[in-house]
Each structure stands twice: as C-alpha cells, then as structure tokens.
C-alpha cells in the first residue's frame, strides 16, 4: 500500500494529468482489440480466443510494411486490411463450424489457431523481439500541458481511438448495415427469412472484428515490442473488459477500457500490490452481481 504517493499525485495536477494520459493510452489499444472481440461475441456468440493472435499479426504486418515501404500511414491502412482478410479466411474455413456449439469446442478451435499463428509468426519473422522506430511524422517535440509532457504520438492515438469509437457506434446504430448486424445478433432466423444472407453477415462481422484487432496491433507497434505471444496478455485483458462492459456493447467496452486503463495507471501508484488483481476482482464482482455486464442487455 502506498496511499501517500497516490494522494500526492492526485494533489499535483501535472502528475495527475500524466497518469490520466498513460491510463488512456493503455485503454485505447485495449479498446480496439476488445471492441472487435465484443462484436464477435455479441453477434456470433463466439468466444474467440484467437483474437489476441490477430492483434499480434496486425503488429507484424505493420512491421513488414514499415520495413519495406517505411510509411506508417500506409502501414496503418494495409496491416488492418491484411488482418481482416486473414479473419475472413479463418471464419469461412474453420470458425464457422463451431458456431452454436458448446464453449468447449470454441475454445479448442480458437486456441488451436493461437498455437498455429504463434508458430507461423516465429517461422516467418523469427523468435526475437522486433520493434519499429517512432514514425518520422511523430518525431517532434512533445506537447507540454498542465505540467506534464505528452508525446505527440499519444495525442494521435487518443484522437484515432475516439474517432473510431464514434465511427463504430455510428455504423452500428445509424446505418442499414449496422442494423442488419444488430438484427443478426438478436434473431438470425428472422433475418434469414427476410432474405438476408446471415452466414455472409457473420463472415463480415468476423472480418470487421479482426480488422479492429489489426488496428490495435498496428497502433501499438511504435509503443511496444513486437513478439510472438504478445497476444496472450492482450486477449485475457480484452476478455475482462468485454465481460465487464457487457457482451456486444461498444459503449460498455469503451467505458470499461478507460476504467481499466485508469485503474492500472493510478493503481500502480496507490496499490502496487493489488493493481494487477484489482481488475479481476472487479470482474468477479460484476459477474456475480450483474452477469450481463455493466452495459449489457439482460438476455433470457
């Protein structure tokens, strides 16, 4: 316990702003991965343990594009699309076979792909940690605000994250396609009767979810080391966020991702011992009190 340093930090606007920013950064990358996971879980009812691997592949694709073309903007577009295509192939040939089955089969199928992807990545890119340099666009003096120093890339990440939240939300709630996806989540049979190709919708949703994981992987590249197995920690944290936020709720995912990030950044100051466990305790409490999640609809 180190409540004193937490209080000190809360009293100092500079320190507080710094912690908030770093919490938001943790949240942004996690949100992107978790939103894809939430979409897939909410619409397809699939526990996709391989989602973390798609995030990892996004990071490796980004590395390759950066190594060959060297333009981060291009990488940011190509890598997620590549991951999306991987997702579509994965869904079409394998994942669709375990829809509606017991969670055990979904675990087995998607876990198998964690193992496969990890080895494929090791085979192609090697076992050592890779990293990319901070793209030249962002290599400029950090912004100083409220007594804290914010790297330029952080600002970019926050802007992109918020834009994506709004975009996903608008897409799902305001467009025709978003409504089809929502309908596929609540009553696929009825939707089929209305002449919509539901399996195709499922493929698209899985592809979109993969794409979001790919965006997460690409954006995380300049911040973290790219390594095989980088998906293992991310997938479990994303799962926690999705479960707490409520499956299929993008808003819930976003809010809980922010909470998660802030809990980590402030928790490490005040309760370094419980910082890691705290989120899981929170998850357990939410599950016991309200199994559908904070923002989820209660399904009967």
């Amino acid at each position: 316990m180190d409540i004193a340093s937490l209080l000190n930090c809360l009293a100092d606007p500079g320190c507080m702003a710094g912690q908030i920013i770093s919490g938001i950064i943790i949240a942004m990358v996690l949100f992107l991965v978790a939103s894809g996971l939430s979409l897939i879980l909410g619409v397809l009812g699939l526990l996709n343990f391989a989602h973390g691997s798609l995030y990892m592949i996004g990071a490796y694709f980004t590395y390759t594009v950066m190594a060959s073309i060297g333009n981060f903007g291009v990488a940011l577009i190509l890598a997620p699309i590549g991951v999306g295509i991987c997702g579509v192939i994965l869904e079409r040939f394998f994942i669709k076979r375990v829809y509606g089955l017991d969670a055990l089969y979904q675990l087995l199928m998607t876990y198998a792909f964690i193992l496969i992807f990890d080895d494929v990545v090791k085979f192609i890119w090697g076992i050592f940690d890779l990293s990319i340099r901070m793209p030249s666009l962002f290599r400029r003096p950090p912004v100083t605000a409220i007594g804290t120093i914010v790297p330029f890339y952080y600002l970019f990440l926050i802007v992109v994250g918020v834009l994506l939240v709004v975009a996903i939300w608008l897409f799902l709630s305001k467009t025709k396609y978003g409504k089809i996806i929502n309908a596929a989540a609540s009553d696929p049979e009825m939707l089929m009767c209305l002449g919509i190709n539901v399996p195709f919708v499922y493929t698209i949703v899985f592809g979109l979810g993969s794409l979001l994981a790919g965006v997460g992987g690409a954006l995380a590249c300049p911040l973290r080391a790219i390594t095989p197995g980088m998906g293992f920690a991310v997938i479990i944290e994303s799962f926690v966020i999705v479960v707490i936020g409520g499956m299929g709720s993008i808003l819930g995912t976003f809010v809980v991702a922010l909470m998660f990030g802030l809990m980590r950044s402030f928790g490490i100051l005040g309760f370094p011992f419980f910082e890691l466990a705290f989120i899981y305790v929170f998850m357990a409490v939410v599950l016991i009190v309200r199994p559908a999640g904070l923002f989820g609809k209660v399904r009967i």
């Binding site: 394998f94 969670a103 087995l108 990890d118 090791k122 926690v240 890691l276 998850m283």
Partner: protein
C-alpha cells in the same frame, strides 16, 4: 470386504500401477520416467477437471488456480520447512491438497451462483486473481521468476525406514503411487450414488432440483473434490520440475487439461488419461524433433474437430455399446 470389492472392480488401476512400477526397473531410462511422470501428473489434472466438465456438466476455465495453489504450497513449504521433518514431502502434498480444497470451496461458492458460460468466465476471473497475486507477492512466491533455486526433497522417514527422495526413481514411484491412488478414489466416487447424482445434474439439473437434490451444494462438493486432486497434481508437478512458476496459474494452463479431456473423451473415465498421453506425447516428441510444435499440435486439434467432435474413447464406447445392444 467392501474395500476389496471396490479394488476388484477397479483392478485396472492396480494393473496400471504395477506395470508402471515394474517397467523402469527392467529398462532403466530417465527419459521414460520423465515423460511418464509428466503424463501421469497431467492425466490426474485432466481426470480431476473432468469430474466437473464431463460428469457434472460445468465448464471451468480456471482450474489452473488449484493447480498453482498446490504447486506453490508444496514448493514454498519444502523450501522453508526444516529438512529434518520426517514426513516433509507427504505433509507438503497434503497441505497443498487441503489448501486447494479450501480455495475451491471459496471459488465454488461464488461460481455456482452462475451457470453456463458465466460460470466459466467467473472461474477464469478467480484463477487470474490467483495469478496476479503470485506475480505481485514477490517476497513469498518469487514473483514472475517463480520459485527458483530448486525444491529440496528431504528423505521420507517412516517406521524407522529412511527413503531417499533425491533420486529420480524414488520420486517416480511416489508420483505413480499418488496418481494411481487418486485415480482409484475418483473412480470410486464416480461409481458411487454421489457419482450418479452428479451425472443426473449434468443431464437435467432442473429435474434434480424438483427431486429435492440441492444442485448447488452438490456442484460445490464436486468443485472441492476436483480442486483437491488438481492441487495434488500441482504439488506433484512442483516436485517433478523442481520449481513453481506463475505459468502454473496462467489461463493457458487451464486450457491444457480441457484439450486432453476433449481429445481423449469425457464420458469415459480413462478418456482424459488417453488425452493426456496423446497431448503430452505429441508435445514432448514433436517439440524435440521439430521446433514447430504449436503448428502441428494446432493443426491436429483443428483436424480433430473437423473429423469428430467426440473424444476417442467416447466414440469407442458408443460403438461397443451398440454392439452390446445388438447382441442383446
């Protein structure tokens, strides 16, 4: 007399134990001992978990919690207890089982408030809490390095007899005996009226409720039994690899026995054992021959799921059952 009858009904366990004990003395080979020890420990883990998954119908994604509690209890006790204690190893194993049982009681109490996938999520959350505590409690657990420096194996002194436990062979005997006795106990539980009640809960829990069976209490008891034996498996792995690692509590460790159960079969007692043999053997040999273990094992799982959704022994049992019916 009743005990003898139970032994006779499960004589295959005795045959298995005798076989495993005789073979290494005829053909002494360290590699064989190592792989068999590992298979046995993972088989015990899978069989204990199957008590919950296959027989009671509850999927736990967090059994690594009990595995880790067993592993760390044994590791920490043996590293800190004085070596002069006559029964240090059995005592540590027993404490690991009791502690795992208590943790299982607490986790089970909360998890059984939920059903289906939420039950699985909640077990996952609890196991990650244990994982987080292991990582953070460095002074006690060694943090993310785990309990390094080896786990001492003091001799077992019994009735004036001193058994040296440092040799790999004596540890092997301990593992074989502990695992086979556990198999026997679990098998007896499954064949008892209690075992039939939990099977009925799996098939129709609502109906069992109407019949006056407290489903939740029975489920908690199953979780505790399962936790105790998983704890024993964890304690044995700590002795076997001479260390306890945070890996033992990570969620991937909860997934391993699930694969074994699904590949081997969940409706037959020996199913998870066969699964443990296949999975461990695949990983041990493939990873030593070629580096791409994950790729091959992953592909194996995918192909397995595409061909059959039932475990190997489940399919066999179904087939032979049909044959029996035809004969009748």
């Amino acid at each position: 007399m009743r005990f003898l009858g139970l032994l006779r009904a499960n004589s295959w366990v005795l045959v298995l134990a005798a076989f495993l004990l005789i073979v290494p003395f005829l053909f002494p080979s360290l590699a064989f001992i190592n792989i068999v020890s590992e298979i046995l420990i993972m088989a015990l883990f899978a069989v204990s978990l199957n008590l919950l998954i296959g027989y009671t119908g509850f999927v736990s994604f967090g059994h690594a919690a009990f595995f880790a509690v067993g592993s760390y209890t044994v590791g920490i006790m043996l590293q800190r207890l004085s070596a002069s204690l006559p029964l240090a190893i059995p005592l540590a194993l027993l404490c690991g089982m009791i502690l795992s049982g208590i943790v299982a009681l607490v986790i089970g109490y909360f998890c059984t408030r939920l059903t289906a996938i939420y039950f699985a999520f909640l077990t996952l959350a609890f196991s990650q809490i244990i994982y987080a505590l292991i990582i953070k409690w460095e002074s006690f657990t060694g943090g993310d390095q785990g309990l390094v420096g080896g786990i001492p194996r003091p001799p077992i002194n019994l009735f004036g007899l001193s058994i040296d436990m440092t040799s790999p062979f004596s540890l092997y005997v301990l593992i074989v005996v502990a695992v086979c006795v556990s198999f026997l106990i679990i098998k007896i539980i499954i064949d008892s009226p209690f075992g039939w009640i939990i099977r009925a809960i799996r098939d129709n829990s609502e109906r069992m409720n109407f019949l006056g069976i407290n489903v939740r209490r029975y489920t908690i008891i199953v979780i505790v039994i399962s936790g105790i034996f998983t704890g024993l498996a964890g304690g044995l792995i700590a002795l076997h690899v001479s260390g306890s690692y945070p890996d033992h509590a990570f969620w991937t460790k909860s997934a391993e026995p699930i694969f074994m159960i699904m590949v081997g079969g969940m409706k037959v007692f020996a199913g998870p054992i066969l699964g443990a043999i296949i999975v461990t053997e695949l990983s041990a040999h493939l990873s030593s021959y070629i580096g791409l273990w994950g790729l091959i094992f992953g592909a194996f799982l995918v192909v397995f799921l595409m061909i059959s959704r039932q475990g190997i022994l489940d399919v066999l049992a179904l087939k032979t059952g049909l044959i029996k019916k035809l004969k009748l």
